[in-house]
Structures are given as structure tokens and as C-alpha cells.
Subunit: 229 residues, 4 copies
């Protein structure tokens, strides 16, 4: 049996039962979201700080290493914005978080530099292996729009995705919605995502577990995959 | 000043300030999500019960009436699935909630009848005025995919949407993400959405307020619109 | 060997060779485009006349009957526009053909009635079998946007499409481009499409044969399918 | 009056009449398609030769220079494919032209190198000015999928596009269909596109003129813009 969390409560499911399509390593890709300097740097000029994300860098790296060894594909997604500004602050509709998030955390001094193509802020903090794929060009909250992630997943024959990274209550959750709507089976390792705060992290995981897919510990997921590879 | 809620805390914003684009009634449409019999019926065979939604039927109707009088467009979105089953339980990838939600609430006896085209379950419970628009063909959680809602909003010259209906922590939240990613300014009247339970409702509104747009009382929104019409 | 046409020239290909993925009846759907009264009616008030399309009604019906017997799915796509006019002449950007096509054929008196939801113009002229699927809501030239055709094809497990109907040089060609870009293998039976005139029909088939997929006689296609069912 | 071509015939239209939305330089972007080494190089190892395109390099550069001076935006689109091969020959569904086009022109020796990210084949042959925008990541025939071109155009407030480049009967035509379906007004300068051969060039321009928008000489377009800037 496999231990999952449903709205915070533990449940045991049969990995060969109705969730089998969620747990097939041969058709699964890990989609690791926004683990780059622009969110994770400790530099005070970090343009869009998500400090809780630093806690999971090592865990994500270890998870990806073990997954690769089992043949599971790893895809790293990062935000990049054209230097002209057209994609965001210089365009007809800038990112909503630029107006809303400071209502909670106060002004974000470096925000204008967020995700600028070619800048140091777009460097990944987590390990990228030669056989991994990279999706650049995330420009809003979803990993799917306006990127080629869906195209890439189709080309790889993927039918199930595992989402890790930041932030649980925005980009990860939004990508989980999109992936599920597009027909992919979605799982989220609860130990490898972080959000705005612990309460919203838990809430995001509850929503995923109720409406979208499996929330479970990464070790549990690896155990199922080991049994099938 | 206009009173909004940010992660549950009250804030006062200048409606002519940086949120002005969120508050222009001439370019705003209300998108009312899934207020149909398939979620709201008290019949025990209701295929996908969202009982908390019944609390807001009268409030939504009153809000829409006043909005229409101010020239704000109202668009009603509903789920419809082909009778063949191909869109969902008979297709290659059925709706994830069919597997996940019963882990929390137990078996849903009528689920196979959910949203079937032409069935009584697709009838709106809220009032639909002759000048309103209808978007049918929602098949998963988002109001935008695979429907023509974005196409319709572009054709109407809309740049700002107000989302009401059910459920706050899945279809409303997912649609808020999509709308914001597509460049629309998003507001959600906190009194006119309902979710799985009160905790997830509050969490969904927190996420919207932090990452996507304005969360405020519908009366507050109407007051701003009155001042501008 | 299977006889195909490449830029008008005959070629013989091995149906088990590099085009095998184009020719698998088990994963193929026929997508029949816009064979409805609004294009085919002989009534002088026909809103968007495509008179050459009448020549292929019987041929399409016969092809579909034989295909169904072999287990190939048939999907009928039709244009429908909201009665409010928002989708087209009452919206921010009306269909381009309303301005361009009359430069060639002169005024089109009934054009304002084209494809209005619920009107007699949306009735199919070709046979629709109970097991067929229908995609309504085509609003511009492509069968894919803003409809749920891609969603439906994914749900049906389809990887190859055969396009018939009208018009070869606009809606069929546009749909062939979209299908191919989305990863579907595209074939077009040269005897079961019609265009603006014979020259543009031939040119559209040339383009499809050079850039997108197989152009061949419907009898040839049926023969391959017979050999595989 | 402005001279246009409709299915090859000359027509004079009033630039302030029903085509006014096609001719507003302030809301227009030129989208220049695939004018890179991978199509235009004279090197025998050129991976996807479109030799007729070389004839228009100078004309396109001159057109863009004059357009920029009038404030019209220029966007250069190019194909790029991941080095892993997943986007194309190593994926579940490779580009259709790899199978179809050699049926007409014979084997294409360098085809495997086409558009590989970071290779010399992705260098633009036409001039790119500092204020221009670049869209990389075209992977099939359309400039819109799976790229962020539509997102960028929305952000720039563009409602009308002018397409130049190669090839008239595939990528330009496909992009014209997509742009028009998405609500953009489309024009194509007949002297600044080239196709597989002259016959298909003419046919593509006929299709655009009948179904999508304006086909006219680039000098004619510049003259209208001059009158409005």
C-alpha cells in the first residue's frame, strides 16, 4: 500500500488500483518549477524572494538523482522575460503579483529585474543533468503558458507529471491545475514544495489532493517507482 | 478608499491607483462559474454536490442584476460533457476529481451523470438574463479550457473579470489563475464564492489576493462601479 | 504499394514504411469539416455559399459508412456563432472573410445569418450516425480553435486524422496545419474536399502533400485500412 | 486609394474604409518568419533549404528599416529545437515535412541539424535592430505554436500583423491563418515572401487575399503608413 495525504489526512491506496496511471515511472516526468536564483538567492537584491524554497534544494537534488537512475525524465522550468520589458512591466498587462504581493510583504526592491533573460537571476540553483530538459520562457504563474511544456511532454510520450519546487500556492498549484486539465496525471511530493507560508502550503496540498491527484512523500513515490522499474 | 482583503487582512486601496485597471466597469465581465443543478440540486442523485454553493444563489442574482444595470456584462459558464462519455469517463483520461474527491467525501453515487449535455443537471440555478452570454463546454476545472471563454472575452473587448460561483478552491481558483495568466485583471467577491469547506475557501481567497488580484465584498465592488458609470 | 499525390505528381509509397503512422485505422479519426446547410444550401439566402461542396456529399457519406464499419471514428465539425453577434459581426474583430471574400465574389446577402446557433443553417447535410461525435463552436477557419476538437481527439486516443469537407483552401487547409502542428498525422482524400475553385483546390492539396501529410484517393485509403482491420 | 491583389486581380480599396483596422501603423507589428541560416545558407549542408528566400533579404531589410522609422514594431521569429532531439526527430511525432518534402525534392542531407538550439543555423540573415523583438522556439510550421508570439503581441497592444519571410505556402500561410483566427488583422506584402515555387507562392497569396486579409506591395503599405504617422 502507498501512503498518501488527502486534505491533510493519511490514506493508504493500492498503487495498482485506480491511481495506477499516476504511478507509472516509464511515462512520468518530474517538472521542477522555478528553482532559480531570482527566487532563491540570499542577496538582498533578489528580485522575487521565495526564501522557504531554499529548504528543499538538497531534497530536490537527491530526488531527481534517484529518479533519473530509475529512468524518470526531469524537466526544469524557469521564468524568463525579454529584456525590453514588453513581457511584463513594459507591456499592456504586467504580472499581477507585482501589485498584489507587496500588499502583504511590503515593497520588493529588485522586482524590476525579475527573470530578465540572460541575467544571473535565471541560473538554476538545483542540479541540471545533461540528460534533463529545460523549459525557459515561463512568464506568469503557470509552467504551461506561454511555454512549450505541453508540446515537450507530448513529444516525450509523458502522461503523468510530478511537480516539485516553488511556490506551492501559486506556480506549483497553477501548474497542477493546468496539467490535470490537459489530461496529465499529477502528483506532488509534499516534502519538496514550499509556499508563501506553512498555512498556504498545506492548503495548496489539500486542494491538489482533493481535486487533482496524489500528494505523498517523495520517498513513498520513489518506493513505488522502484517496484516498477 | 476601497476595502480589500489581503491574505485575510483588511487593506484600503485607492480605486484610482495601481488597481484602477481592475475596477473599470466598462471593460469588465462577471464570469459566473458552474451555478447549475449538477452541483446545487438537493436531489440525492445530484452528480457532483457542492452544497455550500446554495448559500450564494440569491446573492449572485442580486449582484448580477445590479451589475447589468451598470452595463457590466454577465457570462455564465457551465460544464457539459458529450453523452458518449468520450470527454470524461469513457476517454483516455477521466477527470481527476472522480478518483480523488471520494477519498475525502466517500463514494458519489450519481457521478456518472455529471454535466451530460442535454440532461437536467446542466440547467442554471441562477438567473440568466436575455443579454447575458453563456459558455458551455467546460469539461475540467478551468472555465477557460477547453471552452471559448477567452475568445468571447476578447471579442467583447473585456480586460477585467470578476469571478463568482463554485467552488472557490478548484474551478474558481483555477479560472482566476488562467484569467490572470492571459492578461485579464481578476477580482473575486469574497461573499459570492463557496468552496469545499470554510478553511479552503479562505485559503483560496488568500491565494487570489496574494498572487492574482482583488478580493473584496461584492457591495464594495458595486460601490466603485457606481462611482464610475 | 499505396498511390499518393505529391504536388500533383503520383508516387507509390509502402504503407508499412515511414508513413505507417498515417495509416493506422485504430488510432485514426475522420474529421469532416463544415458540411452544413449554411455552406451547402441551394437557397439564395444561403449565408456563406460553397456550392462546389455539394458535389461531395454522397462521396463523403459513402466514405464515412465504410470507415465506421472498419472501426474508424467520424467527427463532424460545424461552425456555430452566438446569436448575440459577439462572436463575429458584433465583436471587436469580425471574421476576415466578411471583408475579403466579397472582393472576389461580390456582396454575400445572407452573410449576417451565417452559423447562428440554433438556426437552420447549422444542420448537417451529410449523415451523422449515432456513434459519431460532433464538435460545434467552430467560429473562424480552423476546426481546432476555439473548439474542443484537440481535447476530444486526445480523449479518444487518436493520433492520426483524415480531413474531408469544405473548403480545401481555407478551413480544411487551416485545420490540416493545426492538426500537424499538434502532432497528429494528417491525410486528405483528394476526391472528398472542395475549394473556392479548382485551381485553389489543387494548390491546397499540393501544400498538404508537401508540408503536412498524405493526399490520396479515398478508395486508396479504405483499401489500406481494410488490410489492417 | 490603395492597390491590393485579390486572387491575383488588382483592386483599389479605400484605406479608411472597411480595411482601416488592417492599416493602422500604431497597432501593427511586422512578424518576419524564419529568415535564418538554416533555410537561407548557400552551404550544401544547409539543413532545410529555401533558396528562393535569398531573393528577399535586401527587400525585407529595407522594409523593416522604413517601418521602424514610422514606429512600426518588428518581430523576428525563428525555429529552434532542443539539442536532445525530443522536439522533433527524437520525439513521439516528428515534423511531417521530414517525410513529405523529400517526396518532391529528394533526400535532404542536413535535415537532422535543422534549427538546433545554439547552432549556427539559427542565426538571422536579415538585420535585427536593438529595438526589435525576437521569438525563438518555433518548432513546427506556425509562428504561433508552441511559441509565445500571441502573448507578446497582446503585451505590445498589437491588433494587426504584417507577415514577411518564408515560406509563403507553409509557415507564412499557416501563421496568417493563426493570426486571423486569433483576431489579428493580417497583411502580407507580396514582394517580401517566397515559397516552394512561384505557382504555390501565387496560390498562397490568393488564399490569404480571399480568406484572411490584404495582399499588397510593400511600397503600397509603406505609403499608407506614411500618411498616418
Amino acid at each position: 500500500m502507498t501512503r498518501i495525504f488527502v486534505h491533510g489526512a493519511e490514506r493508504d491506496i493500492d498503487p495498482d488500483g485506480e491511481f495506477a496511471a499516476w504511478l507509472d515511472p516509464a511515462r512520468t516526468a518530474i517538472v521542477s518549477i522555478d528553482m532559480h536564483e531570482g527566487h532563491l538567492s540570499e542577496d538582498p537584491s533578489c528580485p522575487c524572494p521565495a526564501p522557504r524554497g531554499r529548504e528543499i534544494v538538497d531534497g530536490i537534488d537527491a530526488f531527481h538523482r534517484e529518479a533519473r537512475a530509475l529512468g524518470v525524465r526531469v524537466i526544469h522550468v524557469r521564468s524568463t522575460l525579454r529584456a525590453s520589458g514588453a513581457d511584463d512591466i513594459g507591456g499592456t498587462s504586467s504580472s499581477a503579483w507585482r501589485a498584489t504581493f507587496p500588499q502583504h510583504v511590503g515593497p520588493i526592491p529588485g522586482a524590476a529585474d525579475h527573470a530578465i533573460e540572460g541575467s544571473r537571476w535565471t541560473a538554476f540553483v538545483t542540479e541540471v543533468a545533461p540528460e534533463d530538459e529545460i523549459v525557459s520562457g515561463k512568464k506568469r504563474l503557470s509552467a504551461f503558458y506561454p511555454t512549450d511544456l505541453d508540446f515537450l511532454l507530448r513529444q516525450l510520450g509523458i502522461t503523468s507529471v510530478v511537480l516539485d519546487g516553488i511556490m506551492a500556492d501559486c506556480c506549483v498549484l497553477n501548474s497542477a491545475f493546468d496539467a490535470s486539465n490537459l489530461g496529465y496525471r499529477v502528483s506532488v511530493p509534499s516534502d519538496l514544495v514550499r509556499g508563501t507560508d506553512e498555512a498556504l502550503e498545506r492548503a495548496a496540498l489539500s486542494m491538489i489532493s482533493l481535486h487533482l491527484g496524489l500528494v505523498l512523500d517523495s520517498a513513498e513515490l520513489l518506493e513505488v517507482w522502484h517496484g516498477r522499474s
